[in-house]
C-alpha cells in the first residue's frame, strides 16, 4: 500500500468517527482562505497530506490531482508543458491546495473571458459523510451522464463533503499577451469595457482603479497586435503588467489591505455605483471592490476612500447600502473580510433556494459534520 492510500484510509476513518460520534470537522488545506465565508468551529481535518498529481497528459488538456496538492506544484507542471489554469485561481499570500481552490471556486481576472473555476471542473472525487468514495464527472470534456455533481462541489466550501481529487481542464498558454492602459473615469471605462466586449477582440482582462483602465489582450501574436492597433492606449511592459494582474488575482493590491472589504458582483453594464469610496473594478465591470476603515494605502488617498469618519456603525451602514445597491442592479454583495452584517457574510439567498440547500446538505451530510455554517449560518 502506497502512502497516498494510507492517507486516504486515515481520512476515511476520521470522517467515519466524526459521523458516528456527531462531531463536526473543519476542512482545511493551506489555510489561505481561512478568512473566507463564515467563521466556523470544529475539529481540524488537515487535507494537505493527501497530495500529488495523479495524471497529466498535455494532449488531453486535463490534469488530475489529489486535494492536498499545492497550486504552485500544479502550475509548475503545467508551465513546463506550455499550459495553464485559465481561471487564474487566487493564491492570496500563500500556496493554496487545489482542493481548497475548487472548494472555494474563486477565479481571477480572466474569469469573464476564459471562464470561472467551475467551467474548468471536469470531475471530482468526493469523500462523503458515510466515508464512501464517490466519483462524479471524469477526465473528458463532454460528459452528461448523471447530475453534474462535480460542478455542484466547486464553490461548495466543503459543506457537502471532502473533495479528495479533481480533474481540471487546462489550456495552452496564450502565444502573446499585451496589456494596455488608458486614462479614464470609471464611467468611461465601464462604457469602453462593454463596447469592446461586444467586439471580436482577444480580451483577457479589463479592470479600472484610480483613473486608470487596464486592458489585457491574449492570443495569437497577430490578433494581439491588430487589437492593440484598434484600441490604442499606452503599452505596458510585461513586468509591470504581470505585477498589476497578479495584484488583482492574488489580492496583493493595496485595496485589499483595508479592514473591511466588500465584493459586489453585478451585471457588467451597471453604471458606477453610489457608494462612498473609489472602487477597484475588475471583470470588465462585473466585479466591484469597495474598502473601508483601512490601513495605509499606496494608491488611494485616505480621504478619497471616504472612511475618514471610521467606526463600526459606519461600516455596517455601508454594508447595508452595498447589499441594497447590488440587489437593485441584479447582483449580490459579499462581505469579503472585516465585520459582516447580521444577515451573514454572503448575500442572502431566495427562501426557496435556501430550502434546496438544506435538503441537499441533509442528504450529503445528514449529521452536519462538514464545515457547518461556513456558507450559510446553521447549515
Amino acid at each position: 500500500m502506497d502512502s497516498s492510500s494510507s492517507v486516504l484510509r486515515e481520512l476515511r476513518e476520521r470522517v467515519t468517527a466524526a459521523h458516528n460520534e456527531r462531531r463536526t470537522l473543519r476542512l482545511r488545506g493551506s489555510g489561505t482562505k481561512d478568512f473566507y465565508g463564515e467563521a466556523i468551529e470544529g475539529e481540524l481535518l488537515d487535507l494537505r497530506p493527501y497530495r500529488g498529481i495523479v495524471d497529466y497528459e498535455p494532449s488531453e488538456l486535463v490534469i488530475t490531482a489529489r486535494c492536498g496538492t499545492p497550486l504552485s506544484e500544479i502550475e509548475a507542471a503545467l508551465k513546463h508543458r506550455g499550459q495553464f489554469l485559465a481561471f487564474e485561481p487566487p493564491a492570496f499570500k500563500g500556496d493554496p491546495t487545489i482542493g481548497g481552490v475548487i472548494a472555494a471556486g474563486l477565479s481571477g481576472p480572466r474569469r469573464m473571458y476564459a471562464g470561472a473555476a467551475r467551467d474548468f471542473v471536469l470531475g471530482v472525487t468526493l469523500l462523503d459523510a458515510r466515508a464512501e468514495i464517490l466519483r462524479f464527472g471524469g477526465q473528458v470534456m463532454k460528459n452528461v451522464a448523471g447530475f453534474d455533481v462535480s460542478r455542484l462541489l466547486c464553490g461548495s466550501l466543503g459543506i457537502l463533503g471532502v473533495i479528495t481529487e479533481v480533474s481540471l481542464k487546462v489550456l495552452p498558454q496564450p502565444r502573446a499577451e499585451q496589456t494596455l492602459r488608458f486614462e479614464m473615469s470609471a464611467q468611461q471605462a465601464l462604457e469602453a469595457f462593454n463596447r469592446w466586449s461586444g467586439q471580436p477582440l482577444p480580451l483577457s482582462g479589463a479592470a479600472w482603479c484610480n483613473g486608470l483602465a487596464w486592458v489585457r489582450l491574449s492570443g495569437a501574436a497577430s490578433a494581439v497586435r491588430a487589437a492593440h492597433e484598434r484600441l490604442g492606449g499606452e503599452r505596458i511592459d510585461a513586468t509591470p503588467a504581470t505585477h498589476w494582474w497578479n495584484a488583482l488575482r492574488h489580492h496583493t493590491h493595496p485595496i485589499f489591505a483595508n479592514n473591511t472589504v466588500w465584493r459586489l458582483s453585478v451585471p457588467d453594464t451597471t453604471p458606477p455605483m453610489d457608494l462612498p469610496g473609489h472602487p477597484l473594478i475588475d471583470w470588465g465591470g462585473a466585479l466591484r471592490w469597495y474598502a473601508y476603515g483601512g490601513t495605509a494605502d499606496a494608491l488611494i488617498a485616505r480621504d478619497e476612500v471616504g472612511y475618514s469618519s471610521g467606526g463600526e456603525t459606519y461600516h455596517e451602514l455601508e454594508g447595508v447600502r452595498a447589499r441594497e445597491l447590488a440587489t437593485a442592479a441584479g447582483g449580490t454583495a459579499l462581505c469579503w473580510h472585516g465585520r459582516a452584517l447580521e444577515t451573514g457574510r454572503f448575500h442572502p439567498l431566495q427562501p426557496g433556494v435556501t430550502a434546496l440547500h438544506r435538503r441537499l446538505k441533509q442528504h450529503f451530510d445528514p449529521h452536519g459534520i462538514f464545515n457547518p455554517g461556513r456558507m450559510i449560518p446553521g447549515l
Binding site: 464512501e132 460528459n143 498558454q173 454572503f346
Partner: protein, 484 residues
C-alpha cells in the same frame, strides 16, 4: 387516475384548448428523436404562460400524476419519451425571445425558442449564441438546458453549461426558483450547473438567460485526408499538443463520407479512410497564422491531402457533410442507432479498431462521425428494424461501445443525455453509492419523484437486474477479446 379525471382537474385551472386528449392529438408526442421508444402520453398540455405551467404542475402534484417536460422533441436519448399515465408538458408555445441586450451581450428566452433563432436574432448586433447542436434548426433552448447540449464548436466555446447565465423555473410544487443571473458567481451552491443537464428531473425551466458572444470576423476550415483512422486520431492529439484549440475539430470515417457525399456533394475525399475538419476562427491575421500551423501539424501527422476553404460558401459546404451525417445514415439504411460516448482523445484509434471488430461480430455496419477534438464519438449503427433480431443486435452493439468508453476512461454520454436509452449503461459507469447520491439530489428538488420518472438515473434494483443478465458468472460477454 383516469385520463378523464386528470383532464377535468386541469380544465379547472387552465383553458381547455391547451389540453390535448384525443388519440390522434396525442400520437405526434409518443416519441422524441429516438423513435425506437414509443409511448402515448395520457394527456398533452401546451401552456402559453409561466402561470399555466405552474397551474399544471400544482395540479399534477396534488393528483400525483407524472409530468414529462418536452421541448422540440429532437432529443436522441428518449429523455422526452412520455409516461403512459402522465402529462406531457410541451413547452413549444413558450417561444418568445423576451429580450436581447446587445450592450450587455445577453438574451433572455422562453424555453421554446429554437436554438438557431437566438443566433439569428443576435446577428444584427454582431453577436451569436455559441452551442450549436446538429439539430439547431429545430431544437429548443429549454431542451438544450435539460440536456446540456454541445455541438461542433464546443471545444473552443463550451457547452450549454458554459453559455447559460441564469434560469428561472418551477419545481413540481409550483415554487418559482431563480438560479444564476446576469451577475457572475452567485453565492451559495452552484445549483445552476446542477439543473443544466438534469434531463427534466429537477424542475421545469420557464426562462433562460444566455451569453451572446462576438461573431468572429472570419472562419476557415482545413479538410485533411488520412490513409488510416488511427493516424487521423493521432493527428487530433498532435493539434492539441501543439497548443492549438481549433474552433471545431471533427472526424469522419470512410463509411460516413461515402454515405454523405452523394447526399450533399460536400467535396469529400472518398479514397481517404478518414477525413478531419479543423476550423480556425478569429481575426483574418490570426486565422491565417493558425491555418498555416494546423496544416504543418497535419502534414507531419501523415495527412495524404489537404484543402483549405477559400470562401464562406466552401467552408459551409465542407461542414454540410458533417452536419448531414445523421440524415445520410437514414438514407443508406432503413434505421440507424446513434451512440454518444466520450473517451480521452488518445484512445480514438483503439476505439475505432474495436468498433470495426464489433461490426463483424454483430453483422451490422457502423459509420463513424466524431467531435474528435472533444473525444466525443457518434458511431451510427445501421440496421433494419423490420428484420427480426437486428434491433436487438444494434442495441447490444451500442451497449458494448458504451462499456468500452467507460473502460477507456470516458463516459457513456457526451451530449445526448441518458434518457431512457442509456439507463442500463449508467449501472456500468456509476456505483450504487453514487447513484444513491443522484437520487438524493433528485429528492431535494422533487420529493415526489413525479418529474420525468424512470429517466436518467437507474434504480438500484434495475442495475442489480441488469448486472445479472449482463455479467454472467462474473464475466463480461466475449472474455476472449482484447479490451482497451
Amino acid at each position: 387516475m383516469t385520463q378523464n379525471e386528470v383532464a377535468t382537474a386541469l380544465r379547472h385551472v387552465v383553458p381547455a384548448e391547451i389540453i390535448l386528449s384525443r388519440d390522434e392529438e396525442l400520437h405526434p408526442y409518443e416519441c422524441d428523436g429516438l423513435s425506437v421508444f414509443r409511448q402515448k402520453p395520457m394527456l398533452v398540455v401546451l401552456p402559453r404562460t409561466e402561470d399555466e405551467v405552474r397551474q399544471v404542475l400544482i395540479t399534477c402534484r396534488r393528483l400525483e400524476v407524472p409530468v414529462v417536460a418536452r421541448g422540440a422533441g429532437t432529443g436522441l436519448s428518449g429523455g422526452a419519451t412520455p409516461h403512459k399515465s402522465g402529462v406531457l408538458l410541451s413547452m413549444a408555445r413558450l417561444n418568445k425571445i423576451v429580450e436581447i441586450d446587445p450592450v450587455a451581450r445577453i438574451a433572455r428566452l422562453q424555453p421554446g425558442v429554437r436554438n438557431l433563432k437566438v443566433s439569428e436574432a443576435a446577428a444584427p448586433h454582431g453577436l451569436f449564441y455559441a452551442p450549436d447542436p446538429s439539430s439547431q434548426i429545430a431544437c429548443s433552448i429549454g431542451g438544450n438546458v435539460a440536456e446540456n447540449s454541445g455541438g461542433v464548436h464546443c471545444l473552443k466555446y463550451g457547452l450549454t453549461v458554459h453559455n447559460v447565465l441564469g434560469i428561472r423555473g418551477l419545481t413540481i410544487d409550483g415554487e418559482l426558483i431563480e438560479l444564476g443571473g446576469r451577475a457572475p458567481d452567485h453565492p451559495g451552491l452552484d445549483l445552476l450547473s446542477l439543473v443544466i443537464g438534469s434531463e427534466g428531473l429537477l424542475m421545469v425551466v420557464t426562462e433562460v438567460t444566455v451569453k451572446l458572444i462576438p461573431r468572429p470576423q472570419l472562419a476557415r476550415v482545413v479538410m485533411a485526408s488520412f490513409a488510416d483512422v488511427r493516424k487521423a486520431g493521432d493527428a487530433v492529439a498532435s493539434i492539441i499538443a501543439a497548443g492549438i484549440i481549433p474552433a471545431g475539430l471533427e472526424m469522419m470515417d470512410r463509411k460516413a463520407t461515402a454515405a454523405v457525399e452523394p447526399f450533399v456533394q460536400a467535396g469529400y475525399d472518398l479514397s481517404a479512410e478518414a477525413i478531419l475538419l479543423a476550423e480556425s476562427d478569429g481575426t483574418p491575421e490570426e486565422v491565417a497564422d493558425q491555418i498555416a500551423e494546423i496544416e504543418s501539424v497535419l502534414q507531419a501527422a501523415g495527412a495524404t491531402a489537404m484543402v483549405v476553404s477559400s470562401s464562406e460558401a466552401e467552408r459551409l459546404r465542407f461542414w454540410s457533410g458533417r452536419k448531414n451525417a445523421f440524415p445520410a445514415a437514414g438514407r443508406v439504411s432503413p434505421d440507424y442507432y446513434c451512440m454518444d460516448g466520450t473517451i480521452p482523445r488518445k484512445n480514438l484509434g483503439p476505439m475505432l479498431e474495436a468498433i470495426e471488430d464489433m461490426e463483424e461480430r454483430y453483422s451490422l455496419r457502423c459509420m463513424n462521425v466524431f467531435h474528435a477534438g472533444d473525444g466525443n464519438l457518434h458511431p451510427l449503427i445501421l440496421f433494419d428494424a423490420n428484420t427480426p433480431g437486428e434491433w436487438e443486435r444494434a442495441d447490444k452493439f451500442g451497449a458494448e461501445i458504451l462499456e468500452l468508453c467507460v473502460r477507456l476512461g470516458g463516459t457513456i454520454t457526451g451530449e445526448h443525455g441518458v434518457g431512457i436509452e442509456k439507463i442500463n449503461s449508467m449501472c456500468v459507469q456509476f456505483s450504487d453509492a453514487e447513484r444513491a447520491m443522484f437520487f438524493g439530489v433528485k429528492a431535494a428538488f422533487d420529493a415526489t419523484g413525479l418529474l420525468n420518472p424512470g429517466k436518467a438515473i437507474p434504480t438500484l434494483a434495475r442495475c442489480a437486474e441488469y448486472g445479472k443478465m449482463h455479467v454472467h458468472a462474473g464475466q463480461l460477454a466475449h472474455p476472449d477479446l482484447p479490451r482497451f
